[in-house]
């Protein structure tokens, strides 16, 4: 039981980081970034590349990889999302799909399909750590939970207290009004995308150190978007409870239900939520016409 709880927390942390990425981007561009999973993969590969360039120096490799992820977010905003402003939402979502395709193709072209292990080059190890109640997790499982907690705490402080954060919230809520008040919303949106890509990249770096790195990791992003929707696409606060809920359902279905159902359980949660309460647990109730 303790082990199931521990596993749920770890899985939920991964989903929470990805979910935060979805929500940040939704608040900025009103679009669901279906390439978030591929940004996770990209973060892992950045770490692999920096670790290979600076072997044995995690102090250098990790921040560099994180910075590269954030930079990718900015580039994506400037090159792809800004030109799509004013286009229908459908087209913008499709652009994110093509981004995912391009990222995956680039990764395979440069790194091939081989499974990689960045931890090898970093010179760190991943020993198991026993916890209370007989549960055992690995070191990087703990790092994942820690990273998620730290990220959300920092984000919370940033958005509530700092002037830039307040501007970001304003621009996310009403871009038109925000721009009329003199907020440079292009800069703010670029920052949202950078934070979103950073969250995804961070998750990717930890996951690839913990498990393995291969080009098909993007599938994790698809499951995490259920989390974003269940919590509410524009609610950062809703991401954490939604992540815990979806992770719990998934872990439960493996342990006590049909393990092969675990793959599809996030989508079932998503469907249920869409039918019952489409705007999620904590999202803003959007205009949804009934026919």
């Amino acid at each position: 039981m303790a082990q199931a709880l521990a596993t749920t927390l770890v899985v939920a942390s991964l989903y929470a980081l990805l979910g935060a990425g979805y929500v940040l981007v939704y608040r900025a561009s009103r679009v669901l970034n279906l390439a978030q999973g591929d940004l996770l993969t990209l973060g892992g590969y950045f770490l692999f590349a920096t670790a290979a360039t600076f072997p044995g120096a995690p102090v250098l490799a990790l921040p560099l990889a994180a910075a590269l992820s954030a930079l990718t977010g900015v580039l994506v905003y400037v090159a792809l999302m800004r030109p799509m402003a004013g286009h229908p939402v459908f087209a913008a979502v499709l652009v994110t799909v093509t981004l995912g395709i391009l990222l995956r193709a680039a990764i395979v072209l440069v790194f091939t399909d081989r499974t990689r292990h960045p931890l090898q080059n970093l010179g760190l190890s991943n020993p198991p750590r026993p916890l209370a109640g007989g549960a055992v997790v690995s070191t990087f499982d703990l790092v994942m939970v820690g990273a998620a907690v730290a990220f959300f705490a920092a984000l919370f402080v940033f958005l509530k207290v700092s002037p830039l954060g307040i501007r970001m919230r304003a621009a996310g809520e009403r871009a038109l009004l925000a721009s009329q008040r003199g907020i440079n919303f292009h800069g703010v949106f670029a920052l949202s995308w950078a934070l979103s890509a950073f969250a995804g990249g961070l998750a990717g770096m930890i996951y690839s150190s913990n498990v393995r790195l291969e080009p098909s990791l993007g599938i994790l992003g698809l499951r995490a978007f259920a989390v974003a929707l269940v919590g509410g696409l524009d609610s950062l606060g809703g991401v954490v409870p939604a992540a815990l809920l979806v992770a719990a359902v998934e872990v439960a279905s493996v342990r006590w239900g049909n393990p092969l159902l675990s793959d599809v359980s996030p989508f079932l949660c998503l469907l249920v939520m869409l039918l019952v309460r489409p705007w999620g647990l904590f999202g803003t109730k959007e205009e949804l016409e009934r026919v």
């Binding site: 091939t112 399909d113 026993p130 055992v136 498990v211 599938i219 393990p259 092969l260 675990s262 793959d263």
Partner: protein
């Protein structure tokens, strides 16, 4: 004037045609291969593609077989049955033989197509199907070092030997593909016959992102030993998950191409790799030869090439025996009596008969990481198993 130019042209043409160097280039042996060159399973099968390419490039540079070059057309099926079906249809057109170096879900469509077009089918990288075992189907051949039933017998024999008189509980980790499931269910039954305590087979979806819950099931059931027989990703994924949750038992898996690198990376003394190919750490002459030949030509390191190299050796022997002109029937017959000295890559020669398209005897070795020596060591020497 026109007449003179015309006759001059005819003269030149006759000279050119009579010139020995302008003689027709020799007809090649045409072979087709469908392999998982890219995609999630490429680690186990792309090296076969690379080994064949390098091997037959050398053969062709040395003048070919019986004076004729060997031309192999490669198709990438990414481990997807649909693509393999399309590739097989495309390749059987004009090919003497079809090679499949991909995961077992691709077997059904490829075998159907080979049967329909009466093309011999050689499995050169993927697990050997039972059609290659005696009594063998006439057109199915297999050079792969691992095959159903034999591997389990060897692995469980090893577990029994290692545990001595102690009664051990054995767990089994399969991937959700039929061959893996069926094999491990057979292994479970065989383990009970050998007097060991068993846990029901744990089946893992190949695309699982987290192997921890499956490892948890094995740990909770109290497994002392776990045997896994599946594509590499699941085999090592379950082991790593078990390691992460602090399980202290022993693990034995079939050592596919990445085994050597992973044993070195993980440095886990409880991980055992059962394999039919000698690992390159043994530094045999043939290993040095292969390393030199594939230098700069392949994406994967030299120690991934053993499986494909052995398979190419068998195909070469078959083509040599077939002679020229070679037809599908003649090639099938030639392969049914081939005998190849593997020069140390395997524990012994590969000999096929009309009834046995696998080999007369198969050899295994078990490797593990030795913390004291800080190197990979083999546990004992070659074990032989006669194929009846």
């Amino acid at each position: 004037m026109r007449g003179r130019i015309l006759s001059a042209a005819v003269g030149v043409l006759t000279l050119v045609a009579a010139h020995p160097a302008a003689a027709q280039a020799p007809e090649p042996y045409r072979i087709g291969m469908t392999a998982a060159i890219t995609g999630p399973f490429s680690a186990g099968y792309a090296p076969t593609y690379e080994a064949y390419r390098t091997y037959f490039k050398r053969v062709n540079e040395a003048g070919g077989i019986n004076g004729h070059p060997v031309v192999i057309t490669y198709e990438d099926d990414r481990g997807e049955p649909q693509r393999a079906a399309a590739a097989a249809k495309k390749l059987t057109d004009g090919a003497l033989l079809l090679i499949n170096a991909s995961i077992s879900p691709t077997y059904k469509p490829v075998m159907t197509e080979a049967e329909a077009s009466k093309t011999p089918l050689l499995f050169g990288g993927g697990v050997c199907p039972r059609e290659a075992f005696p009594p063998a189907a006439p057109l199915i051949f297999c050079t792969t070092s691992f095959g159903s039933k034999w591997d389990s017998r060897m692995a469980l024999g090893f577990i029994k030997e290692q545990s001595g008189t102690k009664k051990v509980r054995v767990g089994f980790a399969a991937q959700d593909i039929p061959l893996s499931r069926i094999e491990l269910e057979f292994a479970e039954q065989h383990a009970r016959e050998l007097g060991m305590d068993t846990i029901p087979v744990v089946v893992v979806p190949g695309a699982a992102s987290d192997f921890t819950p499956f490892a948890q099931n094995l740990k909770d059931a109290g497994a002392d030993w776990v045997f896994s027989w599946a594509p590499w990703g699941v085999e090592i994924g379950v082991f790593e998950a078990l390691h992460r949750i602090g399980w202290k038992g022993n693990y034995i898996l079939y050592g596919h191409q990445p085994a050597q690198d992973e044993l070195t990376r993980l440095r886990a003394p409880n991980l055992h790799a059962l394999t039919g190919n000698a690992m390159f750490i043994e530094s045999l002459l043939i290993h040095a030869e292969i390393t030199k030949l594939v230098q700069g030509q392949t994406n994967h390191p030299a120690h991934y090439m053993a499986e494909g190299w052995t398979s190419a050796m068998v195909l070469e022997a078959g083509l040599r025996k077939c002679g020229w002109p070679c037809t599908r029937e003649k090639l099938a017959q030639a392969l049914s009596s081939v005998s190849v000295d593997t020069r140390g890559l395997r524990g012994g020669p590969i000999e096929m008969t009309a009834d046995n398209h696998y080999r007369r005897a198969t050899y295994y070795k078990v490797y593990r990481w030795d913390a004291g020596k800080n190197a990979i060591v083999s546990v004992g020497g070659w074990s032989k198993l006669d194929i009846k």
